[in-house]
């Protein structure tokens, strides 16, 4: 093995460089889901909505101090930067170093709390034990009351996971890849069962804890902000339909708070991994997140959005628009009388404006100008709604017609999608367009 041993007495600065760099591919950086006051002794509280403290250059929120406990790992998962066969600098924090970092950052309002993940040092049990010690110190010795998100290590002793869960706000086990087959190919040391076991354990314990809390208000709380997971998108040939179905069953059967999707970034040269010349599949990730929201807040199901015959998302229209275009039989929707669930399904109307509509229409009927002021995106919605029985202006409820009109207002798409898919005004002097259509440049016919 090519591994270079790094001396233990590396300065904290170097360790932070190595271990934050190694942790950046973990997606979750949310601090929401739990509300807790200051305990009176120490520092910190939690707000239900969570707080973003900064935004990194890639536009992702920095809410928690996201670090690995160690980037040493006994496994050799092919997609992972920290796999054992990679020759990279390795480092391991001590529990005290993490505590002092968290306290120093939290006091200065840099962070909302800690996100602690880890590679596997020696054995899963040994690693989980170290992470437990860190949290124990943080909560009891430093009296830290802020948010803590900790990874449960698959294969660790259930007792350790349970003990850790009482100190953390959120726990997560990474699903890594959407299908068991992909896992077998890219992460031979991990199996689906091994990953789902701690997930099920946390779920069951949370349920028991809910009952305890009803009986005894001050009983210790187990993972109050729930659990989450993440999967890598685009490393294996799974379809969007498979991914979304997995996510849906996780929400239903494991009561997860969130499923995160992470566009695959190729960090290792490996024959099993796809080459991604166009960079990570960010648009696909975006579509999955949009669909994820539709599952959680809009009452959609995975089968409605995709099917075996149409296993992937439309890259031009967002999933909600796409659904509406294929189900024009439900439209137009009358804003002043339709039920909330139906209003929520109109493209251009979100949860917030749907709620506003419901509240406001009790006080008087609504017109398009009112909707506009309430934050409804009329340029999308107008094809699907009526106010007081009339639409904004005469439109045809036809898929082609609406699709063509919606395209003018589309969101920012990558350039390869922008050309080709849309209709453009023909310009007589636009040589480039004629060329791109595959025609030979020719002289302008004189007799026209």
């Amino acid at each position: 093995m090519l591994r270079t041993r790094i001396p233990e007495q590396l300065p904290v600065m170097e360790k932070l460089k190595i271990l934050s760099d190694a942790a950046k591919y973990d997606v979750a950086c949310t601090s929401s889901g739990t509300s807790r006051g200051n305990n009176g002794k120490g520092i910190g509280n939690c707000t239900d909505a969570g707080i973003c403290h900064s935004f990194a250059a890639d536009g992702r929120c920095i809410s928690l101090l996201k670090i690995l406990f160690t980037n040493e790992c006994i496994f050799n998962c092919r997609y992972c930067l920290n796999r054992s066969s990679n020759d990279i600098p390795r480092a391991t924090f001590t529990p005290d170093e993490i505590c002092s970092l968290v306290m120093g950052f939290y006091r200065r309002n840099y962070i909302e709390g800690l996100f602690l993940s880890s590679g596997i040092l020696n054995t899963p049990d040994y690693t989980m034990e170290l992470m437990y010690q860190t949290l124990y110190k943080l909560r009891t010795q430093y009296h830290f009351g802020g948010y803590v998100h900790v990874k449960a290590i698959p294969g660790a002793d259930p007792v350790l996971i349970e003990k850790t869960g009482y100190l953390a706000d959120r726990m997560s086990v990474n699903l890594e890849l959407p299908t068991a087959e992909g896992l077998r190919r890219l992460a031979p040391a991990k199996t689906r069962e091994k990953i789902l076991m701690p997930m099920r354990q946390v779920q069951n314990r949370m349920e028991e804890n809910r009952e305890e809390l009803i009986l005894y208000r001050n009983a210790p709380r187990f993972v109050p902000a729930g659990q989450s997971t993440q999967m890598i998108i685009g490393a294996t040939p799974d379809s969007d339909f498979q991914i979304l179905s997995v996510a849906e069953s996780l929400y239903k059967k494991f009561e997860l708070k969130r499923v995160f999707y992470s566009a695959f970034v190729n960090v290792n040269e490996d024959s099993e991994l796809p080459a991604l010349p166009g960079g990570p599949p960010l648009l696909r990730e975006h579509r999955l997140y949009q669909a994820d929201w539709l599952l959680r807040f809009y009452g959609f199901s995975a089968e409605e959005l995709l099917s075996e015959d149409r296993p992937n998302f439309n890259m031009i229209f967002d999933p909600k628009c796409d659904w509406a275009l294929r189900h024009l039989e439900y439209f137009p929707v009358e804003i002043n009388s339709a039920p909330y669930e139906m209003i929520l399904r109109v493209p251009g109307i979100g949860v917030k404006s749907a709620r506003r509509i419901i509240k406001a229409r009790r006080q008087g009927s609504l017109d398009f100008t009112d909707l506009k002021k309430m934050g409804v995106v009329l340029k999308r919605a107008l094809y699907f709604i009526t106010c007081r029985g009339r639409s904004m202006y005469p439109i045809r409820i036809e898929e082609d017609y609406i699709a063509r009109n919606l395209l003018y207002t589309k969101e920012n798409l990558p350039p390869q999608l922008q050309s080709g898919a849309t209709y453009r005004q023909l310009s007589l002097f636009d040589d480039g367009m004629l060329l791109s259509a595959g025609e030979q440049p020719q002289a302008f016919p004189v007799d026209v």
Partner: protein
């Protein structure tokens, strides 16, 4: 003829204006509330300057809370923190509507009404600003262990965010300084917080920082640099979520 009540640009000032305008018994159509800022003076208007009275303001706010509910109270407080010339009159109209409706608690939902909508918009605006400030505020540790932060928000969010930090940093001495409005919130360990004029604070910036301050600032800068994924770089998105105006006061963007 319209009578215009000129109020001070503060929550108490506007609420006093609401009290006086109502109390003048000129009729709601004949009165208007404006802020005391230089602007065009209309012909055929009578101008009255409102002298801010905390008792009157408290009375109005209590009535709003009782008759129109907590949501309306919050909307009024947050809207008053915004910088917008129309806010005083919009708040007045909202309160008039709420107190004349059979159920005042529904007044904030009447978004068809332009004043209610404006108050709601302003509430959202300063709520968003306050929410941003909760995250983007950066404290520095002074030599004597006091935490000091300065900011320059668009809305007067200092009184809105101070309770959050009083809860969070209960066992700390801290000062939050609104540089633009020359106001400061001061909190003493284990005690409450109060608002003060900030002329005393002008020298704090020259004061020394504690020994570990620079080290933590460097660690934080390093962390912010290393946590971003090069392949996903997206400065436009970053700037959308974290506008440039916040950055002069944020540790990770100082160099």
């Amino acid at each position: 003829m319209t009578t215009v009540f000129l109020c001070e640009d503060s929550l108490d000032g506007i609420l006093t204006g609401v009290y006086d305008a109502w109390d003048s018994r000129l009729g709601h159509e004949c009165v208007k509330l404006q802020l005391q800022i230089d602007g065009n003076i209309e012909l055929f208007c009578e101008y009255r300057t409102v002298c801010t009275d905390l008792q009157k303001a408290e009375k109005v706010l209590r009535t709003v809370r009782k008759r129109m509910g907590r949501n309306a109270e919050e909307a009024v407080c947050y809207a008053a923190a915004c910088t917008d010339d129309r806010k005083a009159d919009a708040i007045y109209r909202l309160i008039v509507l709420g107190l004349t409706m059979p159920d005042g608690k529904k007044a904030v939902h009447c978004l068809q009404n332009t004043s209610v909508l404006l108050v709601e918009k302003l509430r959202c605006k300063s709520w968003r600003e306050a929410e941003k400030m909760l995250g983007f505020l950066r404290f520095e540790e002074l030599e004597n262990g006091v935490l000091y932060a300065c900011m320059k928000p668009l809305c007067a969010v200092l009184p809105l965010i101070a309770p959050h930090f009083a809860e969070r940093f209960m066992q700390e001495n801290w000062i939050i300084h609104d540089v633009g409005r020359r106001q400061a919130a001061v909190h003493r360990m284990g005690g409450g917080w109060y608002l003060t004029d900030s002329y005393l604070l002008e020298k704090v910036n020259q004061k020394g920082r504690s020994g570990s301050e620079e080290e933590f600032q460097d660690l934080w800068k390093i962390f912010c640099r290393y946590i971003s994924i090069e392949e996903r770089k997206n400065p436009g998105c970053q700037q959308n979520l974290l506008p440039l105006r916040f950055r002069p006061y944020m540790t990770e963007f100082m160099d």
